[in-house]
Each structure stands twice: as structure tokens, then as C-alpha cells.
């Protein structure tokens, strides 16, 4: 996951300048991502990892470095898994049709 996200950031924001990207580097402080760029990132994460990023999750704490994105995605995915697990314990009539 880390490598996939790194590659996306390098290809789309750094345009190939790989050496410049540390996993902890703040995208905002280093100016890697501009004012409209964050939405490209969100679209990529949603399509690649099958998650939905809510508006209130669009905050630097979740998305401002490669490492933060990895933690965020992992947390989202485990939440998704938990939801799936929960389904197994629900009465059948409550399951979505």
C-alpha cells in the first residue's frame, strides 16, 4: 500500500521526482499538493481501496503525508471489515437486500 500511494504522489504531484518524497513529509508544508489536488488524491484512494472518504475526513490529520494516508486507509478498511463482521451477527431480516 505504501509503495502504491508513494507512486501515485510521485507520478501525479512530483512528476517523477522520487528522491524528494519522505513518507512523513507534510504535503501542505512542502507544497506538494495544491488547492485542487487533494480531490484527485481522494478519488484515487476511493477507487483503489474501495472506501468512501467523508467530507469530515478531508483533514490534514488523515491525508497530509504518505504515512498518514496509509494509517487512514488501514483504519477505514478495518472499520469496513468490522461492519461486514457485524452483519453476520445481525438477524436476517435486518440485512440489506
Amino acid at each position: 500500500m505504501l509503495q502504491t500511494i508513494r507512486k501515485f504522489v510521485i507520478d501525479n504531484y512530483l512528476f517523477g521526482e522520487e528522491g524528494k518524497l519522505g513518507n512523513e513529509d507534510s504535503f501542505m508544508e512542502t507544497g506538494i499538493i495544491d488547492s485542487t489536488g487533494i480531490l484527485e488524491l481522494v478519488r484515487f484512494l476511493e477507487s483503489t481501496y474501495g472506501i468512501k472518504v467523508e467530507d469530515e475526513e478531508l483533514i490534514p490529520d488523515n491525508l497530509d503525508s504518505v504515512s498518514k494516508i496509509v494509517s487512514f486507509i488501514q483504519a477505514k478498511q478495518s472499520a469496513l471489515t468490522r461492519e461486514d463482521d457485524n452483519i453476520l451477527f445481525q438477524p436476517l431480516e435486518k440485512l440489506p437486500t
Binding site: D11, N12, L14, F15, G16, E17, M28, G31, D34, S35, T36, G37, I38, L39, E40, R43, F44, D55, E56, L58, I59, P60
Partner: protein
């Protein structure tokens, strides 16, 4: 409207007449109706004419006073009728009905200060033979262009850079500092241009060349000195005054011996001008618009609403992505500078429509956004300033959501990110460029595509601090709102709006733009207007909207500001002939050396992938392509420029007999 060129041998000698023919030949499209050259001893003046006023009698270069004063003049003096009457009372005799002759007599009467009396748009050169003095001037806000260079003891000037480059001895190279400024501000800071060694006379300046010395002097500057207001009556009175001024500014801009048209963008400014033109000129007025196939950019609904309200005969050109890429190379040939937006291309197509419809003159609404609080950057400035006074406030930054409603990418941002991009610090708040820092920072990020060698060359260059030396003394006392207004009016307006989107793409088709909002009386009125009447809280163009109630459709009057934009990066991938692909190929980018081949390739790949692209990506791609086209057309294509036919063989019999 016309094209001018000229040469002065600074240390004696005789001017090269053939060279003048090549110079004027390079910009002949600006004035296809007539051409003339005057040369005598060290001086040579050339003129390509687009006949608008006094079709029979306005041949140029023109002289008076037994050939002691000669002029080559591009532009219009709209108050020439009044000036002429005044000069006749003082004993001046006229042999033509042209504004050009009025200008000569006014110079004879008042000398260099004559420009202060002019209401118009001009770039001209007067040769004062008895004093052996060359006097050049450019209008207050920079509607008309004027470039110059010195080489080998010779001073050369012209309406466009390509006329200077038509002289083989003038070097042709891209100015990296100019490029750095364009990739920050969208424009170069005058006198700098995108070409090494070629300068522009700044707007509002005159220049004198006498005894080998060149002196440049400002005769006008935008001095923003708002008067205090109190209450409702004042606003009503000012609204009335503004409408009266605009009406007169439009009326005198209808002076022409050919039919006049008007652009309709679908917004308030051009509709106001078209309405005033309609009121003054009746059904003769025809209106012209750009419609876009891409619905995000299209405003044809409002354009049609305006034209049916005003009952004008309306024409539009429908612009598709493939049209933008098709004409882009020609557009850059005319802009003579890199551009970061494709928006000049549709206006190039629009000017062609105007010309093909048999019109040479159009009125437009340019200038209103700068002078009357129309742009979102003014709103941005107010919101950031308000937030900056209480940086910890949780609700003040919510106002950032009100900015740029037409940019969906920005609208979908979370507040945390908006706060970062529209940052405010105490230091910035008190600094000279508070209003424009977020914008310039964003634009400046396009420089990540500069090559290693370009970056090395620019290592000690800082575009933003280079502006510090160019500000008027009163600037420091102005509010951030007024500073923003000044920066827009002084730099972006002449350097991009009136140039790349104005004179250059219109004159490519011999179409003259006229701008009632830039009448100097309207500008002076705006300069005295309190900022809160330009934008009341966040209500853009408050006084203007109030002034034009009933004049234009209400839906257009109260419509939120929609800036004129065109599809950018994506358009370049709709090409049919492969020139973009060639120009952006790693081999070509490497050969030119200005941009980084690998990064450019990655950018192109991003666009081709169909993935979402950012504002910066679009500016970068358009900037790289236009710079590469500039190198292609001007540096590599220099031979073609020098190979243009001299225009001597097209000299009219009138000029031949005069010489």
C-alpha cells in the same frame, strides 16, 4: 487602429529604409488598408493602417508645419473633435478630419504634456525635426502596445516584437527572468518582456530620445484616493454620476467612419456597454459572442438574453476543444509571450468572426472588474483580512467557502484545506502583497517543471520582490483591497487582459477593441470611489449594479460573477495534426532546455490518462506548450520572419509622391 514601427540612428548616419519595409511588413495584418514609410536622414517612421476615422484623409506617417513634425500613430483619440475645435480657436489649420492630425497640432501647441489632454488609447511616435527629438507615448492603462530595443547605435520601436525581430541584427532569445515572472504573475513586469533585450514602454509613460539620450517618464499613474462617504444619498448620486460618465465614454467611443460592434460575454460589464452603445447608435450596433461546446464554460443563454433584451442582431462563434488547439500556435505568434491559460484562443476566433462579418471596431466591457470590485480576488482579500484579525475564530474562515463558486475543485475542499491554501499570517497581513500571495504561490508551483539549468539560472531571482521597486509611494498606505485593485490594474490588465486577450488576438484580424470602462474619466472616478461602494461587504460591483438598474436584463444584473474562462489542458489533446505531441515530446523539451523533459512527460501522461487534473497542472501544461511554441515560432522560425516580403512594393501612390 494600426501598426507602427520606426528607427532612429542615435549617432548620425542614415536610416535603412529597406529595414523599415521589413519591420512594417511583419505586422501588416494590423493595418491591411494602407501602408506608408517616411525616412529622412537618421529617422524612419513606418505605418500600416486600418482605416477607421477619415478614411480618405488619414494617411500616415503624417506631417504638419512644413514637414517639421511627423507622426506614426496607432490608436484613437476619442476627444479629437473637442480638441480640434479648441485648436482651431487658437489658430491651428487642419487639412484632414483625422484624429492623427489633431494629435500633431496638440503636440505643436503643448509639447510632451499634450498626452495629459488625450482621452483615448494610443501608442505613437512623433519626430520633432527642428529639435531632432523623437517623442514616444503609450496610453494611460496600456490598451495599445509599444516595444523598443537599442542595437548598434540604433533605436528601434514597433507595435509588436516581431517587427523588431524582422531586423536581423536584433538578437532573439527568451528572457528567463521574464519567464519566471509569467510563471508567477501571468505577465512580465514592464519594461521587461519575454524576449532578452526587448523592452516595452510601460503604460502611462512617455519617452524622449534626444542627442543620443533616452529618457522615460511617467505622465500618469493609478492613484487610488477614495473619498469619504456618508449614507444613501451619496451612493445614489455616485451611481448616477457613474452612469453619466459611462454613457459619455461609450458615446465618444462610437466615433468612427465604419460600423461599430460590441462583444457580449453574458456578464454585466459587456451588457452595460452594449446597452449604452445601442442607446447611442441605435440598430446599427451588432453584438458578438463566444459560445462553448463545454457547458462549464458556456454562457450563451445569458448572451442571447442580453441580445434579445437589447434587440441587437447577434452573432456567435461556437468554440470546441479542437478549435482551441487548432489555432493555438497562431495565438502564440500574436501574444508574443507564454500564457498560462487558453482563454485568448476563443477570443482570437471571435475577432475573426467580427472581421468576417465586415466589422473593424468592437466595444467591450474590459476594466470594470479591476476598477469596480468585480474579481473574486478582492472578495478573497476581504475575507482573509477579516479572518486574519481573529485567526482563531472558528466561523470567520467559513467565509472562504463563499469564494470561487465557479471552481468545483475548490468548492469540494474541506475547511481545513481551504484554511491552509488561503493562509493568513500577521506578517503577511501587513505586507505589500497580502492579497495576491496565495494566487502567486499557486501559480509559482508551475516552476517545478523548469529544467535544472533554468532553475540554476534563476537561483538568485525572486519575481515577487522585483515588484517592490515598481510601486507608487502612496501604495504602502493603501488597504489590502486597494493594493489588490492596483496590482490587478497595473499588471494583469495591460500585460494579459488587454494584451493576450485584447489587442493581440483582435489585431491579428485587424479588429480594434474600445473600452469605455477604461476612459480615463471613469478610471479617475473609480480611483476616488470608496472601496465599500465597489464591494459592499461581499457584494461585488455594488455601485455599478446599482447604477445600471433597468438598463440591462435583471437576471444579468444580479448574476454572480462568472469570469471568462476556456477549457485549458484538455483541449491540447484534441489535435489533428500532431504538433502538440511533437512539441511536448521529451526529445524536443530536452533540446529546448527550458523545461524538465521527465516531469513534462509525466504531466502529459497524467492528462492523457483522463485522471482529474488541478489548476496548477492546467497552468503548467498551457505554459509549457506556449513557451515551446514561442521558441518554435520565433527562435527556430526566425528565418520565416526575416523572409516576409517587404511592404515597399505596396506603398500607396500618395506616400510615394510625398517621399
Amino acid at each position: 487602429m494600426c501598426g507602427i514601427a520606426g528607427s532612429l540612428q542615435l549617432h548620425g548616419g542614415t536610416v535603412d529604409r529597406e529595414q523599415l519595409q521589413y519591420m512594417i511588413g511583419a505586422i501588416r495584418y494590423r493595418g491591411p488598408d494602407d501602408v506608408g514609410i517616411y525616412s529622412h536622414g537618421p529617422i524612419g517612421l513606418a505605418h500600416a493602417r486600418l482605416s477607421i476615422i477619415d478614411l480618405a484623409g488619414g494617411h500616415q506617417p503624417m506631417s504638419i508645419a512644413q514637414d517639421s513634425l511627423w507622426i506614426t500613430f496607432n490608436g484613437e483619440i476619442f476627444n479629437y473633435v473637442e480638441l480640434r475645435d479648441e485648436l482651431i480657436l487658437k489658430g491651428h489649420r487642419f487639412t484632414s478630419n483625422s484624429d492623427t492630425e489633431v494629435l500633431l497640432h496638440l503636440y505643436q501647441e503643448e509639447g510632451e504634456r499634450c498626452v495629459e489632454r488625450l482621452n483615448g488609447q494610443w501608442a505613437f511616435a512623433i519626430w520633432d525635426a527642428p529639435r531632432r527629438k523623437l517623442f514616444l507615448s503609450r496610453d494611460r492603462v496600456g490598451v495599445r502596445p509599444l516595444y523598443y530595443t537599442h542595437t548598434q547605435g540604433e533605436f528601434l520601436f514597433a507595435s509588436e516584437i516581431k517587427a523588431l525581430l524582422a531586423c536581423p541584427k536584433v538578437a532573439c532569445a527568451i528572457d528567463l527572468k521574464g519567464l519566471d515572472q509569467i510563471f508567477t504573475f501571468w505577465v512580465t513586469v514592464p519594461p521587461r518582456t519575454a524576449f532578452v533585450g526587448i523592452s516595452q514602454l510601460p503604460p502611462g509613460h512617455s519617452m524622449v530620445i534626444e542627442e543620443g539620450r533616452v529618457t522615460t517618464t511617467p505622465y500618469w499613474t493609478l492613484d487610488l484616493a477614495p473619498a469619504a462617504t456618508n449614507g444613501r444619498t451619496t451612493a445614489d448620486r455616485l451611481a448616477e454620476e457613474l452612469l453619466t460618465l459611462l454613457e459619455d465614454a461609450t458615446r465618444i467611443r462610437l466615433r468612427a467612419d465604419v460600423p461599430v460592434g460590441a462583444y457580449l460575454s453574458g456578464g454585466i460589464d459587456s451588457t452595460v456597454i452594449a446597452a449604452l452603445a445601442r442607446r447611442n447608435a441605435g440598430e446599427r450596433i451588432r453584438t458578438f459572442s463566444v459560445a462553448f461546446e463545454a457547458s462549464d464554460f458556456d454562457e450563451s443563454r445569458f448572451q442571447h438574453e442580453a441580445s434579445s433584451f437589447l434587440r441587437t442582431s447577434h452573432h456567435d462563434v461556437r468554440c470546441r476543444h479542437e478549435d482551441i488547439v487548432r489555432v493555438f500556435s497562431e495565438v502564440i505568434w500574436h501574444t508574443e509571450q507564454p500564457i498560462l491559460r487558453s482563454a485568448p484562443a476563443p477570443l482570437y476566433l471571435l475577432a475573426k468572426l467580427v472581421r468576417d462579418s465586415g466589422f473593424k471596431v468592437v466595444l467591450t466591457g474590459e476594466g470594470a472588474d479591476e476598477l469596480f470590485g468585480g474579481y473574486d480576488i478582492f472578495k478573497e482579500t476581504k475575507i482573509r483580512q477579516f479572518w486574519g484579525r481573529r485567526p482563531d475564530s472558528s466561523w470567520r474562515p467559513l467565509l472562504l467557502k463563499r469564494l470561487y463558486p465557479y471552481l468545483p475543485g475548490l468548492q469540494r475542499q474541506s475547511l481545513e484545506y481551504l484554511k491552509h491554501f488561503f493562509h493568513v499570517t500577521q506578517q503577511e497581513l501587513n505586507g505589500p502583497f497580502f492579497s495576491h500571495l496565495p494566487r502567486w504561490e499557486l501559480t509559482g508551483k508551475t516552476k517545478q517543471f523548469f529544467s535544472v539549468s533554468t532553475r540554476a539560472e534563476l537561483a538568485t531571482t525572486d519575481a515577487v520582490s522585483s515588484l517592490l521597486h515598481d510601486l507608487p509611494t502612496s501604495y504602502a498606505r493603501w488597504s489590502p483591497f486597494l493594493k489588490a485593485e492596483f496590482l490587478e490594474s497595473r499588471y494583469l490588465l495591460p500585460g494579459y487582459i488587454l494584451s493576450s486577450q485584447g489587442d493581440r488576438v483582435a489585431m491579428a484580424h485587424a479588429v480594434e477593441g474600445r473600452y469605455p470602462f477604461l476612459d480615463h474619466r471613469v478610471v479617475a472616478f473609480a480611483a476616488r470611489l470608496p472601496a465599500d461602494l465597489k464591494m459592499k461587504v461581499l457584494d461585488q460591483k455594488y455601485l455599478l449594479k446599482r447604477a445600471v438598474k433597468g438598463l440591462i436584463p435583471e437576471s444579468i444584473r444580479i448574476r454572480p460573477k462568472q469570469p471568462y474562462r476556456a477549457p485549458d489542458g484538455i483541449s491540447f489533446f484534441y489535435e489533428r495534426d500532431g504538433y502538440v505531441q511533437d512539441l511536448l515530446s521529451p526529445a524536443r523539451i530536452k533540446q529546448d532546455g527550458v523545461f524538465d523533459p521527465q516531469a513534462t512527460e509525466a504531466l502529459v501522461k497524467k492528462f492523457r490518462s483522463g485522471r482529474e487534473t488541478s489548476v496548477k497542472d492546467n497552468m503548467a501544461l498551457t505554459g509549457i506548450l506556449s513557451t515551446t511554441l514561442l521558441l518554435e515560432r520565433f527562435m527556430r522560425g526566425r528565418g520565416a520572419l526575416n523572409g516576409l516580403p517587404p511592404m515597399g512594393n505596396q506603398l500607396s501612390s500618395q506616400s510615394a509622391s510625398r517621399l
